[in-house]
Symmetry: C2
Amino acid sequence: VVLARDLVMTYGEGDATVHALRGVSLSVDRGDYVAIMGSSGSGKSTLLNIIGCLDAPTSGTYELDGVDVGDLSDNDLTDLRNDKLGFVFQGFNLLRRTSAVRQVELPLAYAGVPRRERRPRALAMLEAVGLGERIDHLPTQLSGGQQQRVAVARALVTEPALLLADEPTGNLDSRSTDDLLGLFAQLNSDGRTIIVITHEDAVAAEAKRVLVLTDGEIVEDRRQAPV
Amino acid sequence: VVLARDLVMTYGEGDATVHALRGVSLSVDRGDYVAIMGSSGSGKSTLLNIIGCLDAPTSGTYELDGVDVGDLSDNDLTDLRNDKLGFVFQGFNLLRRTSAVRQVELPLAYAGVPRRERRPRALAMLEAVGLGERIDHLPTQLSGGQQQRVAVARALVTEPALLLADEPTGNLDSRSTDDLLGLFAQLNSDGRTIIVITHEDAVAAEAKRVLVLTDGEIVEDRRQAPV
Ligand SMILES: Nc1ncnc2c1ncn2[C@@H]1O[C@H](COP(=O)(O)OP(=O)(O)OP(=O)(O)O)[C@@H](O)[C@H]1O
Ligand SMILES: Nc1ncnc2c1ncn2[C@@H]1O[C@H](COP(=O)(O)OP(=O)(O)OP(=O)(O)O)[C@@H](O)[C@H]1O
Ligand SMILES: [Mg+2]
Ligand SMILES: [Mg+2]
């Protein structure tokens, strides 16, 4: 479902040049559950943003479900993302003046789900991440871990074919982490593909495959469980 | 150095009332190294913000170095914070249009450190957190873990009497985490007081005392090493 070849991402020029990705090739099959690990600054978020059609690489090609993403217009890219992807951002990226339930309803609206179905589905997902009593809170009225869980609920609510999650448990205690991993496991057993960036061994242990990035390159690729 | 009595923090009214702190009393001696743990939403950041003079409780008293903080004007509070505290925010709170080195110089400027001394001290701290090659980068040009490390460097650069850190390793791999814990250990062995919120056992293991919050109350308080 994901096919990336020779992805290069370079920022800056001259002495200030940063080689964030130095030729990364990666193929992920439908139904796989991949954990991406690596030191801070090794290129993980850069790679995930390209896979999520949020950034274009400096060079290299990327196909999502057989579609060459490099050829698409911005509108087509937006449709593709809304249709197939759920993305949990490292910085959450919540809308500042929008309540938790409205944030989680938004992807359903983009997906064309009828109005009367959106609220129940959004509420169910907030319940599943333990936020059933915070549905009308704005981000400023939520703890760090609660904001992170709203971001996760928003990414999961459309039951996306491909879930991309960047450090989804960085602000969560073990109980909230377990709840989240349970949701991911359920999504994956329904046949959805998951790619999660994490620095926590407990999260990587749940994945079927682990990739390790160092300095913009994949240095390790091991399978822990069959697809 | 920290003396809090019966801290209560309540948000909202009626059915929407949230009891973030339900009467927390706490005394921390100079030179102690305290880890605060607890589930997501249990009141940890709320407590740390009061200790850091960033928020006032709904009721209760708080003394920092014998000074009753509730009596102070906003200007006096600002001076007190600049003089005694280093704060690492859960959401980093970096200035969006300011380079890493300038962000870390700022607390030195507030502390009245001569201009020619600021840059070398800021550079040394950025070096210590592994960001010597990112000094001119803006936050948008830094990875999540790099932004977190700028926030830590900024909090440490004045060698504050009291370091307050909210989830300082949430986006860091084990190597960057070890570097940070090394810096904290050094600050503490110099006699400074540290209070850190964390959900990671590896971080709590380094502390001399562990407090656990549940639902706005301290439910556990154990000493792991002498002050
Ligand atoms: N402005 C606000 N209005 C209403 N409720 C609030 C507000 N700020 C915080 N809360 C609530 O207070 C509770 C405690 O929040 P706090 O940020 O202290 O939690 P925390 O222990 O730091 O959690 P985390 O581990 O997720 O960061 C949470 O349940 C949160 O929803
Ligand atoms: N706009 C930019 N300009 C210059 N350098 C950049 C820019 N964006 C990212 N970088 C650099 O690219 C490298 C890779 O960044 P990336 O965000 O992919 O790292 P990461 O593996 O996700 O790190 P972390 O674990 O800290 O989140 C970093 O060294 C970062 O400083
Ligand atoms: Mg990242
Ligand atoms: Mg918090």
